[in-house]
Amino acid sequence: MSIQVKNWSVFFEKYPVLHNIDLEFNGQGIFAVIGPSGCGKTTLLKSINRTAELDRGFNCSGKILLNGEDIYQKNDAASIRRRVGMVFQTPVALPMSVRENVLFGPRYYGEKNKRKLRDICERSLKQAGLWEEVKDKLEHPAGELSGGQKQRLAIARALAVEPEVLLLDEPCSSLDPASTMLIERLLTQLSGTLSIVLVTHNLFQAKRVAHQTLLMMAGQVVEYGPTGQLFSKPVRQETADFISGLTW
């Protein structure tokens, strides 16, 4: 799946949040977005599944293309959101069982076949690395899971509708180091079959898992490229300053 962002600007009311963003991310792998707080990372992420427009006063110009298709052309945001899954900063367990959390999307999209639903549940939980821990308590309330488990449940719920892209907004910021490790390993595995865009505050995380990294500041792209290169031989002075910790 290729993601192309062309001359993309976002305003809330009159305040500009993103200015003329241009970038291209091709194929599988993990694309990390780093930058100081309030630089527009989350807005960029939410632009890719058209959830940014749910916030008040949203205005945009430019184009975002998924496999060449302009996702803002059609009036149908729901179909885009189905293809582009998203996991939030705070782990969200819907107030229902573990199984129903995973099947929330598939049931909405009309899957009724019990065997298929069972398979989707098992496959998604396995992909999210949660199956072994919850296979005997699928009927338990999802609220009983730990923070790290809830976050993997959120990933399983997103994977259950078979998205082509998975967006993650600082998925580990409320998790302990062990859960963080698990999720990072999981993302690396998933990146074999899925395009992943990961917003992170944690530079080490970007360095550990991302194939490509984008640095944003004040709503603009500073630099992006292969992660190793960005961290070891940054082209721009701002990048060098940021990764050495001078400007954050």
Partner: protein, 280 residues
């Protein structure tokens, strides 16, 4: 350090005595009613119609109990569904348009309308204009108008109190708002919504002004017909003591009414405590 801890203790004592004062007022009212009306609260009182001359000096209040329950039932039937729809609009679909602000202000104002004014409107509109006459239907609908804003406001706040992250999660899956509402948001808010409806029912059961000009009479049979006038507990109480018919029966009626309201309010509180748990 000493002065700070003294200040803390002083404030604590102030708040604590405020709480205690409220408790004393409530137990005082109920205790006094028990003392004066407890003896008249017998099985016969609950199961017979008023008798004697003037009417009410002996016998019971059964038709008034029935009348009050029917009035409340009609009020809730009339107000709950439109109230919920309005609340859902305001919390889920209204965003923050000018129209929503206008609706919100209107409902706040509606909640502040004196109940006798609602009664006057009910009289002019239901009794006279629509030709319902002095009737259960006219009284119930007037009470419905009175409790409508209570239901809207409590239901709106119950819906808004549901974790915003659920809505985002649904949206990110491409799930429609309506699906999200009926599978997640409404079930989560249901205990608090029901609690609001019960509070509104209590409010309707105790209101006298709207029904004294639309539905309630000194004596009515037990027909329960929609177009018939009815007896009602608060109106019966008003007649008993304002006309000096029987203070003893008046206190009995008052006690019964307060117990009914207490029951509704406690049930409402217990339900509200369950908000957001919904079994999970």
């Amino acid at each position: 350090m000493i002065s700070r801890s003294f200040k803390d203790r002083f404030l604590l004592a102030t708040f604590w005595s405020a709480g205690l004062a409220i408790l004393l007022v409530l137990t005082g009212i109920i205790g006094y009613l028990l003392l004066r009306g407890g003896s008249s609260l017998t099985v016969e009182f609950l199961t017979t119609a008023p008798r004697g001359l003037p009417l009410g000096t002996s016998g019971g209040v059964l038709p008034a109990i029935k009348g009050t329950l029917l009035l409340v039932l009609i009020a809730v039937l009339a107000a709950a569904v439109p109230g919920l729809i309005t609340a859902i609009y305001l919390s889920e679909y209204g965003e923050s348009s000018k129209f929503t602000t206008l609706v919100n202000i209107t409902i706040q104002c509606m909640a502040g309308i004196p109940s006798i004014v609602t009664g006057l409107f009910g009289y002019a509109f239901f009794v006279v204009y629509l030709g319902f006459g002095f009737s259960l239907l006219a009284g119930g609908l007037s009470l419905g108008i009175m409790i409508f804003p209570v239901i809207v406001l409590t239901a709106r706040d119950a819906l808004l109190a549901v974790n915003e992250q659920y809505r985002l999660t649904g949206a990110a899956l491409g799930v429609s708002r309506w699906y999200m509402l009926h599978r997640v948001i409404i079930p989560q808010a249901a205990p608090a919504i029901l609690s609001g409806i019960l509070l509104a029912m209590g409010y309707a059961a105790g209101a006298t002004a709207p029904i004294m000009v639309t539905a309630a009479v000194i004596s009515a049979g037990m027909s329960g017909g929609l177009m018939e006038p009815v007896m009602a507990l608060p109106y019966h109480l008003y007649i008993l003591f304002s006309q000096h018919i029987s203070m003893e029966k008046a206190y009995g009626t008052a006690l019964l009414l307060v117990l009914l309201l207490l029951f509704l309010n406690i049930t409402a509180l217990l339900l509200k405590g369950r908000q957001g748990k919904g079994g999970y």
